[in-house]
Structures are given as structure tokens and as C-alpha cells.
Symmetry: C2
Subunit: 282 residues, 2 copies
Amino acid sequence: MRQRVLTAVVGLGILAVVMLIFNTPGFNAVISALCILAVYELLSAVKCNKPRGLLVLSLTVAAAVPFTGAYIFASVPRFLSALFAVVLLYFIVLLKGFGTLRAEKAALAFFFALIVPVFFCAAVMLRDSFGMAVGGLYLLWALGAAWLTDTGAYFAGIYLGKHKLAPVISPKKTWEGAAGGILAATFCMALVAFLYSLLMYRLGMPIRVDYLRLLLLTPVFSVIGMFGDLAASAVKRQYGVKDFGTMMPGHGGVMDRFDSVLFTMPSVYIAVCNISVVTLLV
Amino acid sequence: MRQRVLTAVVGLGILAVVMLIFNTPGFNAVISALCILAVYELLSAVKCNKPRGLLVLSLTVAAAVPFTGAYIFASVPRFLSALFAVVLLYFIVLLKGFGTLRAEKAALAFFFALIVPVFFCAAVMLRDSFGMAVGGLYLLWALGAAWLTDTGAYFAGIYLGKHKLAPVISPKKTWEGAAGGILAATFCMALVAFLYSLLMYRLGMPIRVDYLRLLLLTPVFSVIGMFGDLAASAVKRQYGVKDFGTMMPGHGGVMDRFDSVLFTMPSVYIAVCNISVVTLLV
């Protein structure tokens, strides 16, 4: 427990530094590094890290998307060119490893190498579309909906947990924990937004937060985050893996902490592209 | 052989009808039907047609892309929303079928359900971007580069074939056949383009064909088509399947005839978005 809190504190320190470079290409590099670590852990867990070509290709795709995504997605021919090139390369890897590499293994590697960076890339798109002050809170929203839910569910589950939510896939999850997670995320997130808006006011970038929309949408992201957590648990269980890694003492691997973020990040981006929740006042 | 020629003649008749409705939503429907058949055959071949939910979801995605692609790809939030929704649905299918459905099987179904319609959709994009007269020849180019290569390689292989190209994956292919396929495709395609331009002139839609670029690019598409053929053979061999289906007597399934088209179609689209080969004169 002490180790868990310590890692969390270090993690929040890193997050603070990341927020300081949010508006620079350094942020793209952080997302790129996150994608590399996440895809590496995922491919290792599902035993798709061999042959070497499959791993190298997947990590290259994961690393490139956060830098090139904005350029690639801006036009249909460009997007199709990139996708076509990547698919050709996966088929070349499949043909080269024909005797040992099954098509379904290659497909699973392709799936993670595509989905992980495209979804995490929503963080970069939040900044590019909404700017520093507004995009920054949206980013914290995606992280908060995931992590505050996890933490709230953990404590609510310990003290109140009785009815199993998914005994086969993830035996420790309870309905009481889920409810506690949603409540904790919703109210703590409103507090985070309030403190963030005070900070932005101080920094000369006043923002207006629509708290009603925030309170109504956070439970949605909270549920989506829990679904992501459950999906990751299902994958881990199928391949007989307890954690995705050991990089973060007490928390497991990077993907153990970011599995729900992988789903909340695109959700927040999609939602705020359609419904305005935070606006810049200047 | 007689059956093979007969099927080919019927197929060319269907192609003529398809060209007549090229400029209507009927063409989107034809591509949609092609995607449904192709994905159905592929999932059956690689044994990803169970559970039922996986098959239904994959066929729905395959059917929808040719109608909605132009709308979805026009904006980044829309594209991300569609991709996110599809990924969520695949994870729901995975969680529901947790005991029997492996993640890698679901990933292979996802791969085919995504790649097949997105690549074939290039046919619709050729029409939408270049109009009827020019887009029509580009479409024939993609089909011609695939089918003329297949036919040329077949006869050249029979009469001249000596050196095996890929003995493990596809024992009947020879280097002599490949060379004959490229030559046949290149020169027959120039003839097709010439006849097509005469027809368009008669129809009051005169076009100008850059024959040098046509002769230089066709071998590239020809090689890409053969690669697609080889990739499909590799998948069939890994799953112990001889043909993808029996719908087209003498030719096998739809995917046996369209495996190289799956790769030439996006190639032609990507190429002509960057290099103009056919232009409308009015």
C-alpha cells in the first residue's frame, strides 16, 4: 500500500511536468513514449513479440502515430496511403515468418499497434483542437475519469463490496465498487475542474466550466473506463498474465494504469467535439 | 477450362452492367455486396465465423463502409467516433464469448472487417474524386492490373514456367509466369485504355490518357497485385483451405478472384491522387 501511494505520487509529479510541456512537441514525444511502452507490454503479454520483425514494426507504428497523426488524418489519400503501407508491411512480416507466425497473431499485433496510438493520440488532438487552457482540462478529465474511478472503486470495493461484477474475468470487481468509483470520479472531477479554473484565472487564461455537463458526462466516461479495465483483464486472463508489466511498483505495468485511459481519452475527445463543456473567456 | 472461360465471360458481363451504374448509389451497393461476400469467405476460411456475434458485427462493418466511408473519412472526430464504436463492439463480443473466443481470433476478424471494405472503398473514392469518365478508367485499371496479370501469368507459367517463385506458400507460381503476367498486363492495359478513350469520345466525354505514365505504373500495380495473391495464398495455406469459396465455378470464391484487386484498388487510388494519368478534355 505504501509503495502504491509512493508510485502514485511520483506519477502525479510526472503528470505535472507533462502539463508544463503540454503546448510543445515534447508532449507528442511523451505520448509516443507511452504508446511504445503500452504496445511493448501488450505484445509481450499476448506473446506476439516474436518474430522480431513483428515487434519492431508494431513499435515503429506506435511511436510514429503521435507525431504524424495530425498530418495523416488531415486527408483521405494520405490516411489510405499510410494504412496501406502498414498493412503491406504486416503481410511482408507474415510471409517472411510463414512457418512460425500465424495470421491471427499478426492480426492481434496489428490491432494493438493501430488502436493504442490512435486512441492515445486523442490527447494530442485535444490540445491541437482546443488549445492549452481548455485542452489541458479535457486531458485531465480523461485521466481523472479513469484514475479517480479506479481509486474510488478500490476503496468502495474494500469497505462495501459484496456482489461480484464479473466473477470469471475479474473476480475482485464488485457492483458496490463500481458505484463508488462513479460517484468518486464525478465529484472529485468537479473539484479538479474548479481548482484548474482558479489556476487558469491566476495565469491570465480564464475559462468557464459548464459544471452541469461535466457532472452528467463524467459518469459516462467512468463507465467506459471501467469497461476498458474489464477488457484489459479479459485479455490478461486469456493469456495467463497477472499484470502487463512491473514498471510501476504497486501498480503493475504502464498498461495496467492506462487501460481505462485508453478508452476514456477518445471518449472525451469525441464528446467535446460535439458538446462544449469548457470555454476560454478571452 | 471451358467452365473457367464461361465464368469469366459472365463476370465481364456483370462488370459491364456495373460500369453502367457507376455513377449511382447502386455502385456503392455493388461494392458493399462484394465486401460482405469477401469478409464472409475470409472469416469462414480462417474459422472466425463463430460466435455468431463476431460474424454479424464483421459483416455489418463490411456492408456499412462503402456507403458511409466518404462521410466518416471527411472529419477526424467522425472517423475516431466510428473506429471507437467498432472497437468497443468487438470488445463486447470478446467479453460475451470469453470462454470460447480468443482475442487473436477476434483481432483477425477485426482486421479483415476493416481492411477489406476500406481498401475496396477506394473504388467509390475513385468515382467521387475523379468523376465518371476518368474514374471509370482508373477503376478498370485496378481490375485490369490484377486480372490481366493473373491470366498472363497463368498462360506464361504453363508454357514457360520453370523456376519456382514461392514453393512453400504457392507451389504453382513461377518467375516466368510472373514476368509474363507483368508484360501481358502492361500491354493489354494500354489497349484497354485506348479502346476506353475511343468509347468516351463517342459518348461526348473525351479524355486524354498519358500512355507513358500508364506503361510505367501498370508493372508496379501488377507486382502489388501478385503480392496480394501471394498473401492470400499464405492465409489459405495456414488454415488448410484450397479456395475461399465455390461461388464462381472454375475460379473458386469471390476472394480468389479479388485477392489481388484488394491490393491494386487502393494502390491505383493512392497513385492517381498524386500523379495525374487520365484527364477530362471538356
